[in-house]
């Protein structure tokens, strides 16, 4: 690192490379043609095998002895068009339920994750409570929780306790998913390298400031894909609120199915859920792929 060594080094670095223009070689042209040929071949193989599988499945199902009966009870166009408006109206309630629940879930999950990260002995009871909460509510099946909250809280006959089934259903979903989301946030916080904390603390930022300005902004960015995954799951589980009676999509489908002895309304409800979760799933994949690209050292903002 002596000063005398510098000029020579600078010279080698700045010496302009000889300028050349690129003419594609024969060899490269042949190579690209071969690659194109291979791509065409794999596309046709994929198309053929997909068609084969699809045809086999369709033939096997429609040739089965029970098919005419199944077609009548699950794929009836009249039952579908009759039920769809009610099921769709019910589905709007599902959307409302999971949107409201998601907001509370994110808040609860973040608070629980932050409480678990507190180190001071003063917060021991809070920390223990947070651990207990995640342990218990991750262990209880969501449908059981819906029953317990939905019928348990009103049975207490407490003054001011919610009695509306939709509110109770949202509470049950928030309690259940809050525990999962808390763990997602915690894993995100733990994934931030200790050197980031050391840098923040050495600048005299307090524990709270370090979390708020340095750790959390990075952690949240990392956990967006898993959070969206849980959100997709929540959209489906909003149907569990049907157990408490409100007229959401599944309940509407049940009513129609019960009055006509035809199950097509369930199919209508299923299609509505798919129409919403598939785009979310694709968005999750996209974001996860983007995060992975960045972690592999690509450019852009980390």
């Amino acid at each position: 690192m002596t000063e005398e060594a510098r000029p020579t080094r600078v010279e080698t670095v700045t010496a302009a490379p000889e300028t050349r223009s690129w003419v594609k070689s024969e060899r490269q042209i042949r190579r690209e043609a071969e690659l194109r040929r291979r791509t065409r071949r794999s596309v046709s193989v994929a198309t053929a095998s997909t068609l084969l599988v699809a045809v086999t499945v369709v033939v096997a199902v429609t040739a089965s002895p029970g098919w005419p009966r199944v077609r009548e009870t699950f794929f009836s166009p009249t039952a579908f068009t009759e039920a769809l408006p009610d099921v769709l109206r019910g589905f709007l309630l599902n959307i409302k339920i999971f949107l409201v629940a998601e907001v509370f879930i994110l808040v609860l999950g973040l608070i629980v994750a932050l409480v678990r990260g507190l180190r001071s002995p003063v917060f021991f009871p809070l920390r223990a409570l947070a651990v207990l909460y995640t342990d218990i509510f991750r262990g209880i099946p969501t449908i059981l929780l819906v029953y317990l909250v939905g019928f348990g809280i009103p049975a207490l006959q407490l003054q001011g306790a919610p009695a509306d089934p939709v509110t109770l259903g949202v509470i049950a979903l928030v309690l259940s998913y809050g525990a999962y989301v808390a763990e997602v946030f915690r894993s995100g916080i733990d994934s931030i390298h200790p050197s980031q904390r050391a840098a923040a603390r050495s600048l005299a930022l307090s524990h709270g400031q370090t979390m708020r300005y340095v750790v959390l902004p990075q952690a949240v960015r990392r956990v967006v894909p898993p959070l969206l995954n849980d959100f997709v799951s929540l959209q489906k589980d909003s149907a569990l609120v049907a157990m408490l009676g409100p007229l959401e999509a599944l309940r509407q489908a049940q009513i129609h199915a019960a009055s006509t002895f035809n199950y097509t309304p369930y199919l209508a409800a299923a299609l509505l859920f798919i129409a919403l979760t598939v785009p979310m799933a694709r968005l999750t994949d996209h974001l996860a792929a983007r995060t992975a690209r960045r972690h592999l050292g690509g450019g852009g903002r980390a």
Binding site: M1, T2, R6, R9, V13, S195, Q196, A198, A199, A200, R201, S202, L203, A204, L205, S206, Q209, Y213, V214, P217, Q218, R221, G299, G300, R301, A302
Partner: protein
């Protein structure tokens, strides 16, 4: 009076003693270089000074007040000490400007305009004026480390700790970071550097300390340490690292 006074500091990790009774005094405007093999305790000593590690025995005084007392608020101490790390440790989600102004604004309550003005001046002084709006990963290692130095001195600390700040750098980028440190010495900044750059230590240090196995074996002027080391371990270390003597 000395700015920093380290008395009989011990530090243990998992039953091993990393620091064994270190004594060191640093006068205002003095530049102290810590040299020694990896694992000799240089980094640990720096981490004890800014309280990222708690000492297991002994005391450290900053400006005459003990900072190793359990009642001392570490944040109050760290406000007066700047630290630069080997791996830069810039905040990747913030621009260069936000990296530099975070502590002045949030810890020292400097108004944003004033903090950004000072950051702009420092960036200009160290040849990074056009980089204020960039994110750290768009910068070369040398540029990132220069930003890390600016971040550490933006709050006008009494003491700057530099922990092997050129070890992660490409050799062609080392000189630009060393240039910044040289300039800081010219402004009278008190510094403690842990370093493997012997030429640089010789050039910039007022005092060179040789650590070996957690013991401060020898200290003296660069002239004395590099040309006439007294301790055989110092001689051995220098001959290994410099290939001469």
């Amino acid at each position: 009076m000395s700015l920093l006074k380290i008395d009989g500091v011990w530090k243990h990790y998992r039953g091993q003693s990393v620091l064994r009774g270190i004594d060191l005094e640093v006068a205002p405007h003095e530049v102290v270089c810590l040299i020694g093999a990896s694992g000799s305790g240089k980094s640990t000593l720096l981490r004890c000074v800014n309280l990222l590690e708690a000492v297991d025995d002994g005391t450290i005084h900053l400006d005459g007040a003990e900072i190793t007392d359990p009642g001392v608020d570490p944040d109050e101490v760290r406000k007066r000490i700047g630290t630069v790390f080997q791996a830069y440790n810039l905040f990747p989600h913030m621009t260069v400007l936000d990296n530099i102004t975070l502590a002045p604004r949030k810890v020292h309550r400097t108004p944003r305009a004033e903090a950004e003005k000072r950051a702009g001046e420092l960036l200009a002084r160290f040849g990074l004026a056009d980089r204020a709006g960039e994110y750290p990963d768009r910068l070369s290692g040398g540029q990132q480390q220069r930003v890390a130095v600016i971040r550490a001195i933006a709050t006008r600390p009494r003491l700057l700790l530099l922990d092997e700040v050129t070890s992660a750098l490409d050799p062609t980028l080392v000189t630009e970071v060393l240039g910044v440190i040289r300039e800081l010495k010219a402004t009278g900044m008190t510094m403690i550097l842990a370093t493997h750059e012997m030429e640089f230590a010789r050039d910039i240090a007022d005092t060179v300390c040789f650590l070996d196995g957690g013991v401060l074996l020898e200290r003296g002027s660069p002239e004395q340490i590099f040309t006439a080391p007294e301790h055989p371990r110092t001689r051995e270390f220098l001959s290994r690292i410099l290939g001469r003597l």
